[in-house]
Symmetry: C2
């Protein structure tokens, strides 16, 4: 794929991955809506296989590869949900997944990768060590690299979450997604463009990792320097493929405070009785911080994932 | 109603409450099943309106009352989910709900009652004070008492959860529910009898509050003395109406340890990404403690509710 996914590509991705993913439910809370003054529909990718939307992109990429090219397996570096999703997709194709993970990755994420049969190589927790280690893994194994977001196959897979949400909820004024590397946001924006062009696309980003915000509004690609946020899925910078899509198809990016993320996360746990990870709470945090702008709007939010270390919950370990 | 609910009564209850409740989803986890060696289907009453199955019984009881009899409102004593469910049902009928709550009730439960417009009178945390205070409330207001479980209208409402589960999952070997006062268990056993007579009904009870176990196996009604368990919804003793139904229609009662309840609760949070309260975890705890007895069985479990104080999670506050 050399062009951003279009209507046909997204349709094909949806058909390709259908047997291997959940069509996740869309949930709403009357009380939460009353509290916020808007009508919010949550697309529950926290209830997705392997606990995150990443399953969509990983399945689409891995199932696009020919049998003969898959013999040596696939590989990636990831501290998070893409790692488990890729391990699962590889297992479904009866091939190996080699995952390079920083040695400070959460034990929950490590356990998830192992559970799906992924083979882990640990590295130091910085981009250089991740890339160097992955390079060595590729030299040794000949595995195909599947990047977590800077890959049109991945973006097409992630687009299917918003596609389903648009099918289930008519006439949304706004669709929101968090932004880290931009795979989910790119896919969401493309699906909105093709399936619901009147719906505005608003991204939400932690102020402590605001490379997408700065790149978007300053009109040039500015990678993160020392990003710091509780939303551990959003530490990465945009990619060369996601940045142009976001520039073209996203309407607005909102930055949010850490305490709003924790508040939004706890609200969703309390009111919806579902478990989401901090990254998933960032769009609701943006609404809470800017309530008047969202008044009476009909809003779809992609809850990106639910992989949390239950022994380290932010309202116990931080001051928020 | 002077007889336990039969097929027709349960059918009518289901039709009566349908507009006011969620048809809750049935969820399963491939990994959890693999771990346990059984096929478990969870009926998610934690996602029910007001966060618990209690909404079913409360709606059925309140919507059975004639308008003229409802003018002075309804009342109950309850520290928990029945209180919020009754307040909600009363609000739906545009009448008042007077709730007597022990002054040590959790702030989450108090907030839930207030949110639905219930009028709270606090009392000391013992049965005598609860009953005396409720008597005074009735003298003052003339409100109708709706008991949390010892009422056939309530039992018929609770039966609809198992009815839906049986409609959604064919050929279950076993259906399980926790037991406290026995409203949910009675309803579950009656629905199994009428809709899926080949399915065994197994109850699970905390060893620290095992009045149902002892009453069931000793063949006489033995109320709890100083019950103590983390499963705060299961502290009450069986009632005069629930005890005979359970004796007749339940196949087995299993007692479980506190640490198994906490383990099962955390497992469901981790694997299913949903929030359940400790009482909901008791059936899975019974399976974990007796795994070989459940091997390869097809099991339905009613997850009773999801109202938890997120600031007091058992794996932070206890040693389990």
């Amino acid at each position: 794929m050399t062009q951003p996914p279009d209507y046909n590509i997204i349709e094909k991705a949806a058909a390709r991955i259908r047997p291997y993913i959940h069509r996740t439910p869309v949930m709403a809370s009357h009380n939460l809506n009353k509290m916020v003054g808007a009508e919010i529909y949550f697309k529950c990718e926290n209830l997705q296989k392997a606990g995150a939307f990443k399953t969509r992109g990983a399945c689409n990429a891995v199932f696009l590869i020919e049998d003969t090219d898959l013999e040596k397996g696939v590989c990636t570096h990831s501290s998070g949900n893409h790692a488990a999703a890729l391990a699962r997709a590889a297992a479904l194709r009866n091939t190996k997944a080699y995952i390079v993970m920083p040695d400070n990755s959460s034990k929950v994420k490590i356990a998830a990768v192992k559970q799906y049969g992924g083979e882990i190589t640990f590295c130091s927790p910085n981009l250089k060590s991740r890339e160097d280690t992955l390079k060595k893994v590729i030299e040794k194994t000949g595995a195909l690299e599947i990047h977590p977001y800077n890959d049109y196959r991945i973006i097409a897979g992630q687009a299917t979450a918003a596609k389903e949400l648009i099918e289930d909820v008519e006439n949304m004024d706004i669709i929101m997604a968090p932004v880290g590397g931009g795979g989910l946001l790119s896919g969401t924006a493309l699906s909105a463009f093709y399936y619901s062009p009147k719906t505005k696309v608003i991204a939400a980003e932690p102020a402590g990792a605001d490379d997408a915000y700065r790149s978007f509004y300053e009109g040039k690609f500015i990678p993160s320097k020392n990003p710091d946020t509780i939303a551990d899925g959003l530490l990465t910078s945009l990619g060369t493929l996601t940045y142009p899509i976001i520039t073209k198809y996203v309407d607005e990016i909102i930055r949010v405070k850490e305490e709003s993320i924790v508040r939004a996360m706890k609200l969703i746990w309390e009111r919806m009785k579902i478990i989401i990870e901090p990254s998933s709470a960032v769009p609701l945090a943006a609404i809470l911080e800017n309530q008047s702008n969202f008044k009476n709007k009909r809003i779809g939010i992609i809850l990106s994932g639910g992989n949390v270390d239950l022994d380290k919950l932010p309202w116990f370990t931080t001051k928020y």
